[in-house]
Assembly symmetry: C2
Homo-oligomer: 211 residues x 2
């Protein structure tokens, strides 16, 4: 059980990847399948995970990520996007998925569907957009832990030009926005970050027991 702690102490936000080392396809598929299984509020999964395989595009995205070379040099580049608008179609397709998976009449889910539609209709679009974005942070937390388990390095990025990412990935017409950028791969032996000890707040600065 202690291996969980070893996994997490092993990981760090990689500054320099080894461009010659590639993650095997089978392992990439396990990671992506694990992300598909990540929980989300109501199970709605308002998320689209992009795997950017085009080298020219990755090179352009380095500039949009303020020059962070990991975007280009890591084995794989994941971009977590979520929907701009919580559409009726997204809710309908989700309810259909529930009905098919659980072999239920669609009508028996009408109460749940109405609740979700009400949730969407009674909140403004900024709130809903942020709420969908938060779901991607769950995916991110999942990804960090899974990569550590598999001894794959990852560098989660919040700092990039969101408008440029959206434009280079043609996201607006797909009703998507870029939330997080995560190069994954293998650390370079010469990554200067490797020499720096992991910093975490002390246990009792982060955890409090309420007796």
């Amino acid at each position: 059980m202690h291996s969980i702690i070893d996994d997490l102490n092993w990981r760090y936000a990689t500054k320099k990847f080894d461009p010659s080392k590639k993650i095997e396809e089978g392992t990439v598929n396990i990671i992506l399948e694990a992300l598909r299984l990540a929980p989300s509020s109501y199970g709605l999964q308002p998320t689209k995970i992009l795997v950017i395989e085009n080298p020219e595009l990755r090179s352009k995205l380095v500039d949009a990520a303020y020059g962070q070379k990991q975007v280009e040099e890591a084995s794989h580049l994941l971009v977590l996007t979520s929907y701009r608008e919580l559409s009726v179609e997204l809710i309908h397709s989700f309810i259909s998925e529930v009905a098919v998976t659980r072999n239920q009449e669609r009508e028996s889910l009408s109460g749940f569907e109405t609740m979700l539609l009400n949730y969407a209709n009674t909140r403004d679009s900024d709130f809903l957009s942020e709420w969908m974005k938060r779901q991607n942070y769950i995916v991110l937390g999942h990804l960090m832990q899974i990569c550590a388990q598999l001894r794959i390095d990852a560098t989660p990025m919040e700092g990039f030009d969101h408008a440029q990412f959206d434009q280079l990935l043609s996201l607006e017409s797909k009703n998507l926005k870029t939330d997080l950028v995560i190069p994954i791969g293998y650390r370079h032996d010469m990554d200067p970050q490797l020499q720096r000890k992991k910093v975490r707040r002390k246990f009792h600065d982060v955890v409090e027991f309420i007796k």
Copy 2:
């Protein structure tokens, strides 16, 4: 490696916990330590994880969670809180932690500290509050995956009366707010949710390869 997928297929949002089954203290400590190691933006960890051990308080929190009995019946109750204001003190204490851990002169970190202070000073408090909240969603994603690995059940909750939670936990005076409520423990054999198949969107609805 496939065990990651097994872990995630095993988990579900538990509706009914077995109140007689308690998580061992050593396991709880591993979980909390793993959460302490979760990544956060800049490594700032603007998070306080509360472990609610007082039974009367847990009973009151059931009402504040719209009657969701898991809050009381699960083995342990975790409440993820984050700061209301990104204070200068939080940034100072973080920089001190970096200096001590890495045995660096505090002055050598002044550029990093100034950058963080500028980040805080040039954004409005609603944005910063939301940004800190998002970091807790990373903790949540971590927690879900770790619990699944340990075969511990968990029910992440976004739907509760935030003001009541903050009040019952006396958070305002601590500059904290409740973000997420997560009972953890062991599923009851009679949990009706156990009979329901897990629903997830199809792989290509969630993942897209950009060639």
